[in-house]
């Protein structure tokens, strides 16, 4: 499966951008500001982001795949988001994916953004000495060792969308932009799926540490 994903990634046009000195947020190494999020523009349900056409660009890549050109440093596969309604009691949800570092240096996903949510953070799930679990922001982001994979999955690490600005309905797609420590952006199209689990985030308060 990973080989197929890589082949699909290799066939698509470049979507990651390198840092340009004149881009206002390219110099940032911390979480994108909300103003920068707004600048990304709206992403309507069922479409795949910036270069859309009817049916969504990522149809050619399959569900949950991401455009990565040949030689892309970070390949993202099997991206999906748990369905959620804007008017839910806790309008937040997790996005999951496999991150594959194709270079011989560590790569760090420093931050993430999405027009589908007011706030996006990188989260991990931790247990205290009593065994209860909480989710908290990961300071410093997700670092992937050279040549290794890091899997964001329910019960573990994930991208957290908070303050939804649109419904995420199973069968649709949502775009999330990952920003690496060096400013490289990776656009990820996550397939939305109904999922019974990953409920723990709803049992906590809506603060960044929850």
């Amino acid at each position: 499966m990973l080989a197929n994903s890589a082949q699909r990634g290799a066939q698509t046009r470049a979507r990651s951008t390198s840092r340009f000195a004149n881009r206002p947020f390219a110099r940032a190494t911390t979480v994108l500001s909300i103003a920068a999020l707004a600048a990304l523009g709206a992403c309507s349900p069922g479409t795949a982001g910036d270069d859309t056409h009817p049916g969504g660009t990522n149809h050619t890549q399959g569900e949950g795949q991401t455009a990565s050109p040949d030689g892309a440093p970070l390949v993202v596969t099997d991206a999906w988001a748990k369905a959620v309604q804007m008017d839910a009691e806790h309008p937040m949800t997790g996005v999951f994916m496999k991150l594959s570092n194709r270079t011989d240096e560590p790569l760090t996903v420093a931050s993430a953004a999405s027009s589908a949510a007011k706030m996006v953070e990188l989260h991990e799930t931790v247990a205290d000495e009593n065994g209860s679990t909480t989710m908290q922001k990961v300071e410093g982001g997700f670092t992937i060792a050279p040549g290794a994979d890091r899997v964001l999955e329910p019960g573990g690490e994930h991208v957290m969308l908070m303050g939804m600005t649109q419904d995420l309905i199973a069968g649709d797609e949502v775009e999330v932009v990952l920003t690496l420590a060096d400013g490289t952006e990776i656009r990820v199209t996550a397939a939305v799926r109904d999922f019974a689990g990953a409920k723990e985030e709803y049992s906590h308060e809506e603060t960044s540490e929850h």
Binding site: M1, G46, G55, H59, T60, Q61, G62, E63, G64, D78, W80, K82, F96, T108, E124, T125, V126, A127, N130, G131, S132, T133, V138, G140, F142, T143, A145, A148, D149, R150, V151, P154, G155, G156, E157, I169, A170, G171, D172, A191, R193, D194, F195, A196, G197, A198, K199, E200, S203
Partner: protein, 420 residues
């Protein structure tokens, strides 16, 4: 900067935390939960010894477990591809307000799941990834019932022939086995794989569709007989001998270009046929063969010696009676019109008897044909009018579906056909 509990150490806090989330992640203090989490963690890694920090990779499935049939292509698999020995035929009712958006979402999700499961790959959000590793020729064939088109507001795309069959004199249909807006036909050689596929499909489309009926069936364990052996039904008969030949008879089986976007689709007729095995027990062997027109030994016609010998309906016995009786099943099923043929792919069912009964067995009869009204209906009408087999068989369920044409990698089933 690395985080504690990295990816490379599965016996780590991460797997412990996963166990925690499986028990709900609710706040419970104390050592008892810690003990439970530790036990679950051991279960997750499958290696009880804590010294074994690297879980061994799953062994390659034995024998036929790793065999797959293609998913993508001009035509869906599961029609003329080799029949798996097990069947789970899932019929669903869809939301009245499904609409075009709902139909699109449902078919996208369904395609993603079945395209992966049939290849032994893990679908997105699948919580039992270990249950996909033995595809064993899993196929998932998807069809739409008449009412799907109404509820999805795409009536203009419905094939002209798609409607329920007329009532036949022999029918004793039960509504619980009739109809359906959507069908997913799962077949393959591993029942565990099929059970997981059924679960994956059912829960993923639950927001739009609810199970209406499930018909499970079997042909006989793979490997118990040479591959390619025609199956036997529960009356002991060789069942499925005279089938059109894929390739030369494609125009009988598949919708042609004259059906526009439905080309390379087909129709699926499902008839649940109950067998009265108690009264069949009263019939001696000679009479049984006379009813069918074929021998029980190898399914050869009474005028031949090998299963696939062409029956000679003109042959007479020494005293002048037709060797193959005019009321026999194969005589009544034969049409002079070569177009009136169907491609059969039936399975046995053997369910729990009703109170007071000894058996509850029969056939999940499934046939594929380009047009059920001009191919299946005349045949069934002729059998309803006269077929000695009717004495022991009764249709108790009936449904017709339009099987979608295939799709390419990157597309979803129904995308083009339905104009979604």
């Amino acid at each position: 900067m690395t985080l504690p509990g990295n990816q490379d150490n599965p016996v780590s806090r991460r797997s412990v935390l996963k166990a925690g989330s499986i028990v709900g992640g609710t706040v419970v203090a104390g050592g008892a939960l810690g003990g439970v989490i530790a036990a679950l963690s051991r279960g997750l890694t499958e290696h009880p010894s804590p010294a074994n920090v690297t879980a061994a990779p799953a062994e390659a499935p034995l024998a036929f477990g790793s065999e797959t049939l293609p998913f993508y292509g001009a035509r869906q698999s599961g029609v003329t591809t080799v029949a798996g020995t097990q069947l789970a035929l899932l019929a669903f009712d869809v939301d009245e307000g499904l609409g075009r958006d709902g139909a699109r979402r449902l078919l996208r999700v369904l395609t993603e799941i079945t395209s992966k499961l049939t290849q032994g790959q893990v679908p997105l959000a699948d919580t039992e990834p270990e249950m996909v590793t033995s595809p064993a020729r899993l196929t998932a064939t998807i069809g739409l019932g008449e009412r799907f088109f109404t509820r999805a507001s795409i009536v203009e795309n419905k094939p002209a022939w798609l409607r329920q069959l007329p009532a036949y004199r022999i029918d004793q249909l039960q509504d619980r086995w009739n109809g359906g807006d959507l069908v997913v036909s799962l077949s393959g050689d591993d029942d565990l794989t099929i059970a997981h596929a059924r679960r994956a499909v059912t829960r993923a489309i639950a927001r739009w569709a609810r199970p209406r009926w499930v018909q499970r069936g079997f042909q006989g364990a793979r490997g118990a007989r040479p591959d390619g052996t025609t199956m036997r039904n529960l009356m002991g008969q060789v069942d499925g001998t005279a089938n059109p030949t894929p390739g030369p008879d494609d125009q009988v089986i598949w919708c042609g270009p004259e059906q526009g976007v439905w080309a390379n689709g087909t129709s699926m007729v499902v008839r649940r046929i109950a067998m009265n095995l108690e009264t069949w027990d009263e019939v001696d062997r000679v009479a049984r063969e006379d009813v069918m027109g074929r021998t029980l030994h190898n399914g050869a016609p009474l005028t031949g010696t090998e299963e696939h010998d062409e029956p000679d309906f003109e042959a007479k016995s020494p005293i002048g009676f037709p060797v193959i009786a005019p009321y026999s099943h194969i005589r009544r099923a034969r049409s002079d019109n070569p177009h009136e043929r169907i491609y059969r792919r039936a399975y046995n069912y053997d369910d729990d008897p009703e109170p007071g009964e000894l058996s509850n067995s029969g056939l999940v009869f499934v046939s594929y044909q380009a047009d059920p009204m001009t191919q299946y209906h005349p045949l069934q009408a002729r059998l309803a009018e006269l077929d000695s087999l009717n004495e022991w068989t009764t249709p108790i369920g009936s449904a017709v579906f339009a099987v979608l044409p295939g799709c390419a990698d990157g597309e979803y089933l129904g995308e083009r056909v339905l104009g979604l």
